[in-house]
């Protein structure tokens, strides 16, 4: 049954996971996302849907439990925040190499190091440019509301299983902690062993006769074969780039200036558009929903119609590099950000646009 609830972003993730029919959640507490595991423990889905919830000994333990479960064809997920995600990177790289599907949630906080527990978007590089070792990509969905926190759990598993690849929901402490109304999907049933065998039996390790056995590995000692495997991965990434780019355009029709922002920054920028109107400045906003694959072409096309672009992020300037690549010198692209846990206000964004783009 569909249902409306008032929930924190982190709780919405947890509730959506139960309703998605996730088989296993493995996590380790870290602010500002501990509510995910707290909520799951409180709801006891192992009594209702059979979903396993386990507090691991560390983030390393958690991601490797996800690895095992995903290798067995199960829907497995984990969540953490920045320092914990750094620890998960080894496992994420292995999962990418072994082509295992899973959903990883990062509710980002300010860094580097132990940093702060306040929201930030400074894990952009780590998430979309790599993070772990080797040539791989994660599909990255960036929610801008509690509703999207819930929705992206389902979307995330669809994408992860479609392409057999780990994916990340890149959120931040603001969306994780804020409360909003959220529409929840009806409960899905979990797959039985027979269904897993029918759907994923050709790759998942569920126990097979020797003649049909499956192996999950990212090891290939012969370089020619490793290169071939990497070519296969890269072809898959090109396919994802072709099919899965998502974005939102707000007020872009006749805009003179463009803001590019994702997640909570994009929420703040919506208010900036209004403030601009009051001052007679026509501002549009492109909100990348997939940070990888990045909506480069949409931004490039938009650059034909505007006088300048401001990339607004809660970081010292990370996504701006992808915006510049997309724009390819057509118009001026600048960056505005607060970081280390500080959040920009809509006025500050407008001021930055006026100084760096309009007057600059």
């Amino acid at each position: 049954m569909e249902e409306f609830k008032l929930m924190k972003g982190n709780e919405a993730i947890a509730e959506a996971a139960i309703r998605e029919g996730v088989d296993g959640y493995f996590g380790y507490p870290i602010t500002p996302q501990s509510e995910v595991i707290e909520y799951l423990m409180l709801e006891e889905p192992y009594k209702t849907t059979g979903m396993v919830v386990l507090q691991a000994e560390s983030e390393i333990g958690a991601i490797n439990m996800v690895y095992g479960a995903a290798g067995a064809g199960k829907k497995a997920m984990t969540s953490s925040s920045s320092p914990g995600i750094s620890l998960k990177q080894e496992g994420i790289s292995y999962m990418a190499g072994s082509e295992l599907p899973c959903v990883i949630v990062n509710v980002v906080r300010g860094g580097p190091g132990l940093g702060t527990i306040q929201p930030s978007q400074a894990d952009y590089f780590q998430t979309v440019k790599g993070g772990g070792h080797g040539d791989y990509r994660l599909i990255v969905l960036a929610p801008a509301s509690v509703q999207e926190m819930a929705d992206f759990v389902e979307d995330g598993f669809d994408l992860a299983f479609k392409y057999r690849t780990p994916m990340m929901i890149l959120s931040d402490g603001l969306i994780g902690q804020m409360m909003e109304k959220v529409k929840l999907k009806p409960q899905k049933t979990r797959l039985t062993e027979a269904e897993i065998r029918a759907k994923y039996g050709d790759w998942a390790t569920i126990g097979h006769k020797p003649s049909e056995r499956n192996i999950i590995t990212s090891l290939e000692l012969k370089s020619e074969r490793q290169e071939k495997h990497n070519h296969k991965l890269q072809a898959k990434y090109r396919e994802i780039e072709k099919n899965e780019i998502r974005y939102e355009k707000i007020n872009c029709e006749n805009a003179d200036y463009l803001l590019v922002a994702y997640g909570s920054s994009a929420r703040i920028c919506q208010k900036t558009i209004q403030l601009g109107k009051e001052k007679g400045i026509n501002i549009g906003l492109i909100r990348p929903i997939t940070l990888w694959p990045f909506p480069s072409k949409v931004i490039n096309d938009a650059a034909d119609k505007v006088k300048g672009i401001l990339s607004v992020e809660l970081s010292a300037g990370q996504m701006v590099e992808d915006v510049r690549l997309a724009v390819n010198g057509k118009v001026k692209v600048e960056h505005y950000g607060r970081f280390g846990g500080m959040i920009h206000s809509p006025d500050e964004v407008l001021e930055a646009l006026e100084q760096k783009i309009i007057g600059g």
């Binding site: 088989d23 296993g24 386990l54 333990g61 490797n64 199960k74 497995a76 569920i206 590995t217």
Partner: protein, 252 residues
């Protein structure tokens, strides 16, 4: 007589288990890994559970265990096998799950995953090959390297003041209530091979009976890493490893 005339029903007294593939083992001749592989697979075959078992290969010389063990397998990151096993077993409690790990894998980088899987009493089997050295990477010191033992990173012999003592993981985890069976075996003599196989069988029976975690340590050789002939390495094992790592059941 041709081999076909000799090998036929009635005259056949021993056959290689079908749960070992025909691939050539990548281990150095004389290394204990091959024997440990075989008895593990023989146990699965005898119990008739090969098609219900998922094995976890480690990082180390046995990283390619899935090339030889003819069952569903997952390869884990260095030391993480007990966590990977946990993920599978928790979601498929009726399957048999085991890890196969070296001392560098289990007792160094993976100590955390090992102790916590043991402490949670995961209903899995850990097969732990202790050869006192990092074989795969070229004979560096392991946490299990003996006092005074030479390795490429303890070229003058392991200095306990500098690097601590050989760690006895099996005794350590035997203290945890989640571990139902902890034993130390060896495979350098036929009689010991039989005992080790019995221990492995008991470990899988424990899993069948949902008793908790069983760990079977196998003290083994690394003739290449130790820079000895296979025969000499087995003598050395007997004289030097076994006094520090005595054989027998520690728990269960």
């Amino acid at each position: 007589m041709t081999p076909e005339e000799i090998i036929k029903k009635g005259t056949l007294v021993f056959e290689k288990t079908k749960l070992m593939t025909d691939a050539n083992l990548s281990y150095c001749p004389g290394c204990g890994h091959g024997v440990a592989h075989r008895i593990t697979m023989e146990v699965l075959e005898e119990m008739g559970i090969g098609d219900q078992t998922i094995g976890i290969a480690p990082v180390g010389c046995s990283v390619l265990a899935y090339d030889f063990m003819n069952i569903d397998m997952q390869q884990a990151a260095h030391g993480r096998a007990p966590a990977v096993a946990t993920g599978i077993k928790r979601l498929f409690p009726e399957k048999y799950v085991f890890t196969y790990q070296g001392d560098g894998d289990l007792a160094a980088i993976g100590t955390n995953e090992t102790i916590h899987a043991c402490n949670r009493g995961e209903n899995i089997v850990i097969i732990f090959i202790n050869n006192g050295i990092y074989g795969m990477t070229g004979g560096q010191m392991a946490p299990t390297t003996l006092a005074g033992m030479k390795s490429s990173t303890s070229p003058y012999g392991r200095d306990l003041g500098m690097t601590g003592h050989p760690i006895k993981i099996t005794e350590l985890v035997a203290n945890l209530p989640g571990v139902c069976f902890a034993t130390r075996q060896a495979v350098h003599k036929p009689g010991l091979v039989r005992k080790a196989k019995k221990a492995i069988k008991k470990a899988f029976e424990n899993q069948r009976d949902k008793k908790g975690l069983s760990i079977v340590e196998i003290v083994s050789n690394c003739n290449s890493g130790w820079k000895m002939t296979p025969v000499k390495s087995n003598e050395w094992l007997e004289e030097n490893m076994l006094p520090v790592f005595p054989l027998g059941d520690i728990k269960g």
